[in-house]
Assembly symmetry: C2
Homo-oligomer: 115 residues x 2
């Protein structure tokens, strides 16, 4: 637990909040971070994590929105295509969350300036 | 209210926490900030704020410990001396609290690095 202004924070809660993920979406995100894979579509991730396809799609969309997952179009043998997803490195994820934390701090400091 | 990692913070609570003040001590601190005066000993501050001398002394000691109050020795006509206190500028107080906030942020970031 981390202390910030006399309140306790769990590191996972901070990341979850920073990326605007629900509890389920964070679990999917966490799974991808722990099990990075080159090619995984939402169906595969759904099977791997046990979360339904809709939740996986929402999670992936949010993570993609934060620029933390690489999306590739994969053509299917039977025609058409699907998207595969590959989570970015932990280093890049760390940098992204740090940027968010710095923005929160900036807001706190701006309030101090108006105090 | 300020949002930091999905928790709500009141600016006064942040300052109170940063300087390690109790609720009463913060009220004394706040009074001094709002009513800066060149010469005030703890007796005077006690009368002005309605807080007992012990609480005022504790508050002043903590504020002094943070380098946010100027202490002057004042010789008494009847011999001996007393200390008078003058709160520093709001600008200096803001800088001090910002430094503390940056340290908290640093701790959060160090935890992200270990994540």
């Amino acid at each position: 637990m981390i202390d910030f202004a006399c309140k306790q924070f769990d590191i996972n809660e901070i990341i979850k909040c920073g990326f605007g993920l629900t509890r389920s979406e964070y679990k999917i995100f966490h799974f991808l971070v722990k099990n990075p894979q080159k090619e995984a579509d939402t169906n595969k991730i759904s099977k791997q994590t046990g979360f339904d396809l809709t939740t996986v799609q929402k999670a992936v969309k949010k993570i993609y929105g934060h620029g933390l997952i690489i999306r590739r179009q994969k053509n299917l043998a039977k025609g058409g295509y699907t998207f595969t997803y590959m989570i970015k490195s932990k280093e890049e994820i760390r940098d992204a969350i740090k940027k968010i934390i710095r923005n929160w701090t900036k807001t706190v400091e701006e309030n101090i300036d108006r105090w």
